[in-house]
């Protein structure tokens, strides 16, 4: 089953855009034949906060593992901050803070001791500033009070916070956060959102994965929507919102002719649905009867016309496939 690919006609990220993350044809086929990521071309522009959205099993974590050199791609390339991974991992990864599939630490060490260990592993930091940096990171995630407790006694939210603290141990240019709010209470969720905004304000690029649209919507300026290992759409949140916004839907066999009429009427985003039977355009200020008249005047066969609106949530479900079943 192929996903409906919605083409956003507003300006897309050009291939030569300055990207913090770029993958070309990235593919992972696990032993056993499972294709987790399928020819993915992912571009995360520098300075953006990009949401990596997709339902369970859509390949987000596998992609992130390949970005970080943990999993070897079956084919395709990865570039982080302009350098190839894994070849340049040693020089790039210190500039990348990452959370991969939840936090993981030594259970019988304290939160602080775990951070000390990670800092000791980093050959590119000044060890004299180690404890100051650890304190700052712990403060930043509100974990200072529990820093001396063994990791195994942490609640899920505290574990997640420690994972974020590890990503914040030193200045970074890029953050790759896999479901950072998983397990956090509403307060913690809000704190993570604030943190992401702060990082972005400092000029960092953030790639944050989630299966919750609501979360992405609030912090991201771009989204990439994954489904079954492929990116089904990507663009700015505004571009995605256009797809969802109340729009004029024209049912017609003459897609191209209809699209050009709609653009002439002032549509900034006009798209053809994947089934090739409908076009969709945002024309908030034009009455439907005027659109009809213009189409008829241009000899476009109109089978049906009307206004429709979708919530972003509905759009997301439409993009990623509805139903409870995990694709795979």
């Amino acid at each position: 089953m192929t996903a409906p690919v919605l083409q956003v006609e507003a300006p897309r990220s050009a291939p030569d855009v300055d990207a913090a993350v770029r993958t070309t044809g990235l593919t992972k086929r696990f032993r056993g034949g499972q294709v987790a990521v399928d020819a993915l071309d992912l571009v995360v522009p520098r300075g953006s906060v990009t949401g990596f959205l997709g339902p369970n099993g859509s390949g987000k974590t596998t992609t992130i593992r390949m970005l970080l050199g943990l999993v070897v791609p079956t084919s395709g390339q990865v570039e982080l901050l302009g350098e190839p991974v894994p070849r340049a991992s040693a020089s790039v990864l210190p500039r990348v803070g990452a959370l991969v599939e939840g936090p993981a630490f030594h259970p019988y060490l304290s939160g602080r001791a775990n951070l000390v260990r990670l800092d000791a592993a980093d050959r590119t930091v000044d060890r004299r500033t180690s404890s100051a940096r650890i304190d700052t990171a712990l403060d930043r995630v509100g974990l200072q009070a529990a820093a001396g407790k063994r990791f195994r006694t942490y609640s899920l939210g505290m574990k997640q916070r420690l994972g974020l603290a590890a990503a914040l141990l030193r200045p970074r240019d890029l953050f790759i956060l896999d479901e950072p709010t998983n397990g956090l209470d509403p307060q913690g969720t809000r704190e993570v959102r604030t943190l992401v905004r702060e990082l972005a304000a400092d000029g960092c690029t953030v790639l944050v994965s989630s299966h919750l649209l609501g979360e992405i919507e609030q912090v991201c300026d771009r989204v990439v929507v994954m489904r079954a290992g492929r990116a089904v759409t990507s663009g700015t949140l505004e571009e995605l919102a256009l797809l969802a916004r109340p729009s004029v839907v024209v049912e017609t066999p003459a897609l191209d002719a209809a699209l050009s009429v709609l653009r002439r009427l002032g549509a900034t985003a006009a798209t053809a649905d994947a089934d090739g039977l409908r076009v969709r355009a945002d024309l908030p200020d034009v009455a439907v009867e005027d659109v009809t008249r213009a189409l008829v005047h241009a000899d476009v066969p109109v089978r049906g016309i009307g206004r429709s609106g979708r919530s972003l949530e509905e759009l997301f479900v439409e993009l990623t496939g509805e139903g409870f079943d995990v694709v795979g």
């Binding site: 593992r65 943990l70 991992s89 500039r95 993981a104 000390v116 990670l118 590119t124 200045p171 240019d173």
Partner: protein, 286 residues
């Protein structure tokens, strides 16, 4: 917040990962389970020493662990007896547990993925892990030797020692020989550690890696005891484990000891190569 102003302190070739090695040693020696293993090992000379002290039974030469008949005559022999007692099973068990856990334990806990994304190169992970294992094996051997020497001196008469060869050497020389034995045992354990590390690189289940390593150590000794397989014996990694008895002769016949060291060197080279080729290519999906 940008890393452009971060000073790169990385000096390839100069930095031997000393900081990470220290961290790894803290991890190994700070872990309760490993501490218990060391305590159990240290109890062996205590048990043997106390048993000999309180018992009046006469031990014939050749009965029980090597040298046990000599302990009541000279307490320093307790170190040799204790080491001979732990080499076949307890030491391989302790080393097998720690080595099997080395990579697989971090994989299972998920800490491996965070270590690798710091980043630590996979080769460096193996080097540091192996370094810590060698130190643990040496610590275990020298602990048994030290407790044996100390307790032997406390419970039994000491003084000049009559060696197996009939020669008498000074107390200092005997202590030196006990430490050499511990060093030889450490090298043997370094071989087993390399094998355990290789096993550990193949799985995400630490218990499986531990069990496999210990089973390999025992199987090797069983095969070594089957005369029909004598063509195989020189290749078994446990073949010269007990050759340290030669250090208690004067002059020391070095032939077998050197064979033992060479055998370990070969096993270390092969096992580390296997561990490296596996670990540097595997997907970390835990």
């Amino acid at each position: 917040m940008s890393s452009a102003d971060t000073v790169l302190l990385d000096r390839p070739g100069v930095s031997l990962s000393a900081r990470l090695l220290r961290s790894e040693l803290r991890l190994v020696f700070g872990r309760r389970r490993n501490q218990v293993l060391l305590v159990v090992l240290a109890l062996v000379p205590v048990l043997v020493g106390v048993a000999i002290r309180v018992s009046s039974a006469e031990v014939e030469p050749g009965e029980g662990p090597p040298f046990i008949d000599r302990v009541s005559g000279n307490g320093l022999f307790l170190a040799f007896t204790a080491l001979a007692a732990v080499v076949p099973f307890l030491l391989p068990l302790a080393v097998g547990v720690v080595a099997g856990d080395a990579v697989a334990g971090e994989a299972q806990a998920g800490t491996l993925r965070y270590l690798l994304t710091v980043p630590v190169s996979r080769t460096r992970v193996l080097v540091v892990k192996y370094g810590a294992l060698v130190v643990f094996g040496a610590a275990a051997s020298f602990l048994v030797a030290a407790v044996g020497l100390g307790l032997g001196a406390a419970l039994f008469p000491t003084g000049d020692v009559t060696l197996l060869s009939g020669t008498t050497v000074s107390e200092t020389s005997a202590i030196g020989r006990a430490l050499l034995v511990a060093a030889y045992v450490s090298v043997s354990l370094a071989g087993l550690s390399a094998i355990g590390l290789a096993v550990s690189a193949f799985t995400e289940v630490p218990v499986a890696a531990m069990a496999t390593t210990v089973v390999l150590a025992i199987t090797s000794q069983i095969l070594d005891a089957v005369p029909q397989l004598d063509w195989l014996h020189p290749y078994l990694f446990s073949h010269h484990w007990l050759a340290f008895g030669d250090l208690v002769r004067d002059p020391v016949p070095t032939g077998t000891l050197v064979d033992g060291l060479q055998l370990q060197a070969a096993w270390i080279a092969v096992a580390l190569a296997v561990a490296w080729s596996r670990f540097t290519t595997k997907d970390v999906t835990s």
